[in-house]
Amino acid sequence: MLLSRLVEALGADAVKSQPEDLSVYSFDAYTEGSLPAAVVLPSSTAEVSAAVKIAREFGEPIVPRGAGTGLCGGASPMRGGVVVAFTRMNRIVELDLAHRRARVQPGVINADLSAHVAGDRLFYAPDPSSQKISTIGGNVATNAGGPHCLSYGTTMNHVLGLEIVDDRGEVFTTDVDRAGYDITAAMVGSEGTLGIVTSAWVRLMRMPESVRVWLATFGDVESASSAVSAIIAAGIVPTALEMMDAVATSAVERAFRAGYPTDAGAVLLIEHAGLEDDMNAYESAISAIARDHGASSWRAARSQAERDLLWAGRKGAAGAMGRLAPNYYLQDVCVRRSTLPKALHAVSDIARTYDLTVANVFHAGDGNLHPMLCYDRRDARQVQAVIESGNEILKAAIALGGTVSGEHGIGFEKREAMREVYSTADLATMARVREVFDPKNMLNPEKIFPAGAQCAEVRAPGNVA
């Protein structure tokens, strides 16, 4: 009945219900959820709206899905329902170059938008490492970050307005420039629990006049992270400030030959974009701080090709982990930037305690850690060790005044950890928003808000941070 109604509304071609289809959509890059009752591939807002209305009629929850690259189960159906996959809604609907903005459908791939406007010397700033496959709709749902968020801000800062299909299938729009509650801000990062984004106005930025990329090497992670804290404390916020430890650089070099030194304990990848006139002074200031904190070498990328290669290595780092171990678990926590050395120290202690290899590749300038714990999922002891150390890392971040997700979101995986960060009153206040937009708890249920027992599944490799 549900299926026939969906087929009637969207066409047979847009409704998937074979067991093999359902199984593919039962998980994202985190873990397996439950089998959905159906998967729909709408081509328009009207079709999304129709699908929501039908699902509601049958009491089936709705689970919106972009590319399924999320690492926390945000796109996994946990109570069955209808998965709304945005694969076919991948058009740039309107390009307003004069005002540097674009209206895109949620299925547009992040990197495609920047590529599309590159000829006009514009770009879309949020750049999660998954940007070659992840969608703008998914990025909006998780308020996705990326290396360049350090100076450009996360997805939140780049969304100007949204078109949303609500829990009843009705359509409304938001606009950050209009008086009224900032519903755009509530929607961004809400992981599909408040409404389904069917179109977004996003800001495009002018390409900077000059871009420089530098590499600084250090003997160990501690001195590199002290350098990062000192750079920030000096009021210097580069466009990107990334760190990789020796384990990570060796995997990256084996996979990409990107030009990272493999004999250093830690490497900082620093980018600054802006006016050519300021670049030399900038380089002097940052390199002096790096040297004061024990940098053993400092070099500038000499060409665009060299810069691109370094970035390709950095953004492909998670994928390169397959060279180290059959599986890895990628944690995402954010701490105060002055506590980076302590946080890194804690991560390394935890890994040692559980006898796991850890690779660190992360957005150091933001204090956003991404320890990757290497393991073999065929070994039950290692699986248990990874689950426990993942939780220990969350606790360590919280103890340092940090938070349980910097940019990947809460999804299903971390919902219990929300209790560690927020009081019951804080969570109840958040829940009021949920009750307004989704009183029947039909939009991506079992996400963000804690309930029941914690279930920390562990992922397979090949995922992208």
Partner: protein, 397 residues
């Protein structure tokens, strides 16, 4: 006043069916409607502590009643700032500026005020003390409640503390001021907004004499703020001068000492009133349409025989338009019809200053937003008894 005190006060008022007016520095009192009823006034001015100054993290947590001036003074030794750009910084509070959703002229460069907010403590109408976010600069743990409170005019909750991200303050500021000879206005604005190097702010001004510096030419005057390192300023100076020269603007006056004060006088003009006899509108426009918008409004004001002052934020496109008349009565005789005509042209115009509490017919919030139903539902879930600032916000919320 303590946070617990605010909680206690709101809880009592809410239980007793009393209405609470929330006030900061009263600098943006001219925005929105007066509350339908006031039984208790809650001033946040006593909540003015610096909760945590963390310069090494480039963050600071402050109570909502702290003034923008004190915030700036606190950050100055660290060479950082939080560029909210609200008028009357000595009186304006951090909480009030955020609650009013203030948008300043340097946001094209630094971002919106809301984008500096990384955490908050708010007190709900029933006295619930709710925290959101934290002191980290990136955080996706649940809904961004802090940003939802920003721009909500204290109708969802009372902000009592905000945690802010800070940014390195520009080492140098320079102000250019110039009169515009005939035939130069359009070109001057267009060349400025298309420079490779971006001025921190650029304004075209017609009127506001005595409030904003500079002398009028045949087509008004301009004030341009440059910020950055000495190198940047040097480069900007060269490029701005040559661009303006191409546009036919021969002379510019440069102010280095006092540049900040000069810029602040422009900000103050946004809400400067002519006694009880003026109303000021903010009209959102695109930068390339703002000048035409100001011209249309000037024609409209002239038709209504209203005196007027105009200010165009060339970088963001905001048009600030103030009308006034000989006295409050003369203004009163025309303002409602003018308001109608203005909103016919610019449905999203909002009122940001003026004494209009007795003029319920003015469309102070402009056209009703599309998501009004959701907004009403939010209000009734957060403040079901309509305790907080009732009637002050959009569509009577």
């Amino acid at each position: 006043m303590t946070v617990e005190g605010v909680s206690h006060l709101l809880k009592n008022a809410n239980e007793n069916g009393e209405c609470v007016l929330v006030a900061g520095g009263n600098t943006l009192r001219g925005m929105g409607r007066p509350p339908l009823r006031v039984d208790v006034t809650l001033s946040t001015l006593g909540l003015n502590a610096i909760v945590e100054d963390a310069p090494a993290d480039l963050t600071i947590a402050v109570q909502a009643g702290l003034t923008l001036r004190t915030l700036a003074h606190t950050l100055a030794p660290h060479k950082t700032h939080v560029p909210f750009d609200a008028p009357r910084a000595a009186d304006a509070t951090v909480g009030g500026t955020l609650a009013a959703g203030w948008l300043g002229p340097r946001r094209h460069l630094y971002g919106r005020p809301r984008d500096f907010v990384i955490g908050s403590v708010a007190v709900l109408a029933d006295g619930t003390i709710a925290r959101a976010g934290g002191m980290v600069v990136k955080n996706v743990s649940g809904y961004d409640m802090s940003r939802l409170y920003v721009g909500s005019f204290g109708t969802l909750a009372v902000l009592v503390q905000v945690n802010l991200k800070t940014a390195a303050a520009p080492p140098m500021q320079r102000v250019f001021s110039m009169r515009l000879p005939e035939g130069t206005r359009e070109r001057a604005l267009s060349v400025l907004s298309n420079l490779n190097v971006t001025p921190a702010a650029a304004f075209w001004i017609d009127g506001f004499r005595g409030t904003i510096d500079g002398d009028e030419g045949q087509e008004g005057r301009m004030i341009v703020l440059l910020e950055g390192t000495a190198h940047t300023i040097e480069r900007l100076t060269r490029e701005v001068r040559s661009a303006l020269g191409r546009a036919g603007v021969p002379e510019t006056r440069i102010v280095d000492a006092g540049a900040r004060e000069s810029f602040e006088r422009v900000l103050d003009a946004y809400v400067a009133c002519v006694g009880e006899r003026s109303i000021t509108y903010r009209i959102p426009a695109f930068p390339d349409e703002a000048l035409a918008c100001a011209r249309d409004l000037t024609a409209l004001a002239t038709r209504f025989e209203l005196r007027h002052d105009a200010l165009v934020d060339a970088m963001n496109g905001d048009v600030i338009f103030r009308v006034n008349d000989l006295d409050a009565m003369a203004l009163g005789a025309k303002i409602e019809m003018f308001d109608d005509a203005l909103h016919d042209q610019q449905p999203n115009a909002i009122v940001i200053a003026g004494n209009h509490s007795h003029r319920p017919l003015l469309a102070v919030w402009g056209a009703q937003p599309d998501a009004i139903e959701q907004m009403r539902a939010l209000k009734s879930r957060f403040d079901p008894k309509n305790t907080l600032n009732p009637g002050r916000f959009v569509a009577g919320i």
